[in-house]
Symmetry: C2
DNA sequence: TCAACTCACATACGATGCGTATGTCCGATG
DNA sequence: CATCGGACATACGCATCGTATGTGAGTTGA
């Protein structure tokens, strides 16, 4: 452990803080999470926090960026497995709904993120989820599969529908029963975008 | 003013606090709003607050309930003006998008509400917006206009799409240019629910 | 190699804000 | 008219955030 450069130690410190923050924010919510407890759990103090992230919001931003990147990677992998682009879009949507069942995603990215960091499309991470679906939509529009609507608007509506449905599923008493209904409704709704449906 | 009963005074006090809270929450957000300032602006102290609403969250709940009721009333009025039930549903959706442009609705109901009070469908006010669209959907399904999907799920997706689109519109640099795109995309998407579209 | 400097992080402090416990005054009741 | 209850104000304790200052390890240059 003595052979590490300072920059490596720095990265390790940031990683430890982000890891602790993911747990604390997911369990208690951003507002109720104490920076003293959080940093202590990481074996540090608030000094490290304010040095590395500026303030409490900076830490939230870092956590959101990390989770967002993970989500986008997962969704992309799932979307690419589909037989065609359209099915890929639907699969991605379903993936978002399922991902939003995880407390970390739900609490941090969907609830506290917008409330304390503002609109997701303004985030430094640019909300990767939104960007990937927008790009896919543009391709589908270009190839004539999807009707010529504003890609950005449609992407917003689609992800909004998916994520909101996920919140509903997660809050329900029997998530496993409700999830398929949400996914089915999503596919039906998305069908409205198709140029010609059979 | 001396001829008022105690209960009337009480209602007046609550109304004054809620009014001040709507402004403070909308401008600064729930977390950053100071109860001292808020109550002082209403000509009272925190004593009145904790007596009438229990705690800070109780006040937020009361504010949310009031705004939610206003939204539902407006949406209902707009929906009833349409020529048929389907157009009524679309009009309601467009109305939600436009209402969400108002800072009070956006900041309090869409951002801070879910973050600090939990899932809207669990609110005491039951999220009137959601209920009215769900009811309209059930009617449309019964009359065969809309495909037989789970009404609750579809309502969730529709309102989620609308409200999320509204957040996007409001955060954009030129809301007036983006709004029609959002409404158009909403109508296209909702078309997916139709049993047969022409 | 060593002295000076940088910097990552810890510690100490002040300020703010919530919730509660206690006090006060007005109106209702018998 | 005396007593009581309740609406609201005041006073206090506690937690938490952000900053200002301290410190020790690692880096650099002669």
């Amino acid at each position: 452990m003595a052979g590490k450069r300072r920059s490596e130690m720095m990265e390790e410190t940031r990683a430890k803080l982000i890891k602790a923050a993911r747990r604390a924010f997911a369990e208690k919510g951003y507002a109720a999470a104490s920076m003293d407890e959080l940093t202590a759990e990481a074996g540090l103090t608030r000094g490290a926090l304010y040095h590395n992230f500026g303030d409490k919001r900076g830490l939230l931003q870092a956590v959101v960026n990390q989770i967002d990147a993970e989500m986008a990677a997962r969704a992309l992998a799932i979307g690419n497995q589909a037989k065609n682009d359209w099915e890929g879009l639907l699969a991605e949507g379903a993936a978002y709904i399922e991902m939003a069942l995880e407390p970390e995603v739900q609490r941090i990215v969907l609830l506290d993120g917008p409330a304390f960091l503002g609109d997701p499309s303004r985030w430094p991470s640019q909300d990767s989820c939104l960007q990937t679906t927008r790009q896919k939509l543009e391709e589908l529009i270009a190839q004539g599969t999807v009707r010529p609507v504003d890609a950005e608007a449609a992407a917003r509506l689609l992800t909004g529908a998916a994520l909101n449905a996920a919140l509903w599923v997660a809050a329900s008493d029997h998530p496993q029963d409700v999830l398929p209904k949400a996914v089915e409704a999503f596919r039906v709704l998305a069908g409205g975008l198709l140029a010609n449906r059979g």
